[in-house]
């Protein structure tokens, strides 16, 4: 009898039945050489990139609504409950008040408290005015159970670019477009860098730091703004700390990286998946080599390739449990011997599910 590939994979997955338990019961027992946590253990969830799209009146694109609604319901049913939830930005598609209001309404059902990161789709219509008024400051920090969290607004850009447009919507649409010759790179900016230096000055090198930004605080692919132009300046301010993790949205896919002392994780989008840009750029480029691709998604199911994340710090570093709808969940944890994050299952080339490399 023929058996479709996904069913086959599910059967393989039965071997890792631990993944079906409440996540805190999953022990990282893969020879990661984990060192004991130096802080109180806790978990938090991360939802991002919902891109709620206003059609007209009270109508919104239902596909994107569904992604966020599903994430909210699932987070509410977590056991144990996460201490808080981070929303990683791009709640709206074009920064409209209708979209942000709609997002607030859908997220009002969420039980744990929310921490907000702004994305460029939330920002470039009114330059973050409504966001700051109704939702959250654009950058701030907080401490939680021995970990210092810093939220950055990493999607700023040059003043001259911002001021060149006839209308706010023209500006928004140009920032939203990929491969836009009239685009502009993201940056944190000098004012925020000064604030970050002062904020971090209060902390000892040994405190675990988690930076929350919308764009990756390193450089992947400039034409799509998988990029922060002054990323190196941020990285430099973080260099003295022994354990730094950056969690970012924006790229809509499973990605992780290690640069020096900093571990980077991309968090899932609820709206749609992006491919890794190297997969179809046909000329030589400086894009970091991707070693473990996302498992292939089935286009019939619009939720496949999307999801959200559960994070814990039980090992002493962040462990990222990617919740991948209609696909196999993935757990990526910091390996203290190799000094970089590894996928607990798919790092092994034999276990990987070949990606789609033609479109």
């Amino acid at each position: 009898m023929s058996i479709d590939r996904r069913t086959f994979l599910k059967h393989l997955g039965a071997a890792s039945a631990a993944a079906t338990l409440p996540f805190s019961l999953v022990e990282v027992a893969w020879g990661l050489g984990s060192k004991p946590a130096e802080h109180e253990s806790f978990t938090f969830a991360y939802i991002s990139d919902s891109h709620l799209t206003h059609i007209k009146g009270t109508r919104f694109t239902s596909n994107f609504d569904r992604g966020l609604r599903k994430a909210v319901m699932e987070v509410n049913l977590l056991d144990p409950k996460p201490d808080f939830v981070i929303y990683g930005g791009d709640l709206a598609q074009l920064g409209k008040r209708e979209e942000l209001d709609h997002g607030l309404e859908l997220l009002s059902g969420l039980r744990p408290p929310l921490k907000w990161v702004i994305g460029e789709h939330d920002f470039y219509l009114d330059m973050g005015e409504y966001w700051q008024d109704k939702i959250s400051p654009l950058y701030y920090s907080f401490d939680h159970k021995g970990v210092h969290f810093v939220v950055l607004n990493s999607i700023l850009t040059h003043e001259a670019w911002i001021n060149q447009w006839t209308t706010p919507m023209e500006r928004m649409l140009n920032m939203a477009r990929l491969d836009n010759p009239r685009g502009s790179p993201f940056m944190v900016g000098e004012r925020q860098l000064r604030w970050l230096r002062e904020d971090l000055a209060k902390y000892d090198d040994s405190i675990p730091i988690v930076i929350l930004s919308h764009s990756p605080l390193y450089k992947i692919f400039k034409p799509w703004n998988f990029w922060t132009d002054d990323a190196e300046k941020v990285q430099k301010l973080l260099r003295r700390f022994s354990r730094v993790t950056v969690l970012h949205g924006h790229v809509h896919q499973v990605l992780y990286n290690q640069i020096g002392n900093i571990t980077f994780y991309a968090m899932m989008a609820t709206a749609w998946p992006w491919p890794y840009p190297v997969s179809y750029v046909q000329k030589p480029n400086q894009v970091p080599k991707l070693t473990v691709f996302m498992n292939r998604a089935d286009p019939f199911h619009s939720r496949d390739g999307t999801g959200w994340d559960i994070l814990d710090m039980d090992s002493g570093a962040i462990t990222n449990h990617y919740q991948l709808w209609l696909n196999e969940n993935r757990t990526v944890a910091f390996d203290f011997k190799l000094k970089h994050p590894v996928d607990l299952k798919f790092q092994n080339p034999d276990k990987r599910i070949p990606p789609q490399l033609h479109y």
Partner: protein, 370 residues
């Protein structure tokens, strides 16, 4: 009770082709792959005939009224025509009895897939308090060891003396019988796989195009190049029954998790507690994403097996088509393959014509014609 016996006698007195135990031949399997048979339970006619006898034995229940065939009536396409099934003392369960026809092809059994094999599945209803209502399987073993007819049958089928008969032999025999209750050979199969282009009406042919295209049906009710099982063997949330639990999930889920950790009987909970039943696949995997997910039914012989869905809440194929056309029942966990289809009245009628073309020749004279 007398009425029930009378009906049974009638069905025995008028043997139908559907009721004969025979190993599936090539014609009956037109459109189906070979029947999957586990290595440790080879399929023999002796075992299947014994299985049929066990399947219809009402003594295997607390009050002597319920056999497997009570809910899976051979003369009604191996289901009962009820929204949800009734066990001993007329107790109602929570789920619609699926037909046995082609159950052999599913990779999991029950609406939530909580059993992997027919053998494992067949043992559960005996000891569910609202189905056969036995406390354990011992009464069944006692009966078959004492009964002279069964002694002979088990000797023939398994080559063992009465003292060695266990409930697992009973299960193997029933599963073997179920592996003979398989059927392709419908007008669709003769059209699609048998080369008979006149086997389907023009309406059914148009319905097949809707099924493959605008209706998006085929993505879950799979048709492959040489065979068609009409299932993906996966679990999907369509929103059916979900309204009964949605607002109370935050209470139901933790209660269920506690019960499961305390090793409470899940089979019993699913059939006795309506809210637990509606959790669907989640009750098996514990994965939140599986809440309200139920197995994709085969569509073979679907015209014979009304009412529809896991709770029997839709009465006719027309209602089912309307339900999918609306995009299921909206809820946060709705399967992302489900969306409004905007089918025309003619497309809906064609789709129903197509669904009615999936009735196997062998069972065409049984079941409920809605």
């Amino acid at each position: 009770m007398k009425i029930r016996c009378f009906i049974t006698l009638i069905s025995i007195a008028v043997p139908l082709a559907a009721n004969e135990v025979k190993l599936p031949d090539a014609q009956a399997l037109l459109g189906l792959p070979p029947v999957p048979v586990p290595a440790d339970n080879p399929l023999t006619l002796e075992k299947a005939r014994l299985g049929r006898k066990l399947f219809e034995d009402r003594r295997f229940s607390a009050d002597g009224t319920i056999s497997c065939a009570h809910c899976h009536k051979p003369e009604r396409a191996f289901q009962d025509g009820l929204p949800v099934s009734e066990g001993i003392s007329g107790q109602k369960g929570t789920r619609n009895a699926p037909t046995v026809i082609n159950a052999a092809y599913f990779t999991t059994q029950f609406w939530d897939g909580r059993r992997k094999t027919l053998e494992a599945q067949s043992k559960d209803p005996f000891i569910n308090p609202i189905e056969h209502g036995l406390k354990d399987h011992q009464p069944i073993v006692d009966i078959v060891r004492r009964d002279q007819g069964y002694q002979r049958d088990f000797k023939q089928a398994f080559g063992i003396p009465p003292s060695q008969i266990t409930i697992d032999h009973v299960a193997q025999a029933i599963a073997s019988f179920e592996r003979t209750v398989v059927a392709g050979d419908s007008p669709f199969d003769r059209y699609q796989f048998g080369g008979d282009k006149n086997a389907l009406s023009p309406s059914a042919i148009r319905g097949l195009a809707v099924f493959r295209g605008k209706g998006r049906c085929v993505s879950c009710h799979v048709i492959e190049s040489t065979t068609a099982l009409f299932t993906d063997n996966r679990f999907h949330n369509l929103g059916v029954g979900f309204g009964r639990i949605e607002t109370r999930l935050a209470e139901i889920i933790p209660t269920f998790r506690k019960a499961k950790q305390a090793n409470q009987d899940i089979d019993e909970a699913i059939l006795t507690q309506a809210e637990i039943s509606e959790l669907g696949r989640f009750a098996v995997t514990g994965e939140v994403e599986d809440i309200g997910g139920f197995k994709t039914s085969t569509l073979r012989n679907i015209a014979l097996t009304a009412p529809y869905m896991h709770d029997g809440s839709l009465k006719t194929l027309e209602e089912v088509v309307d339900f999918y056309d609306r995009g299921g029942f909206d809820n946060p966990m709705l399967d992302s393959g489900i969306r409004p289809l905007r089918l025309t009245a003619e497309e809906k009628a064609d789709l129903v014509s197509f669904l009615k073309s999936l009735t196997s020749q062998r069972f065409a004279t049984t079941g409920v014609q809605p």
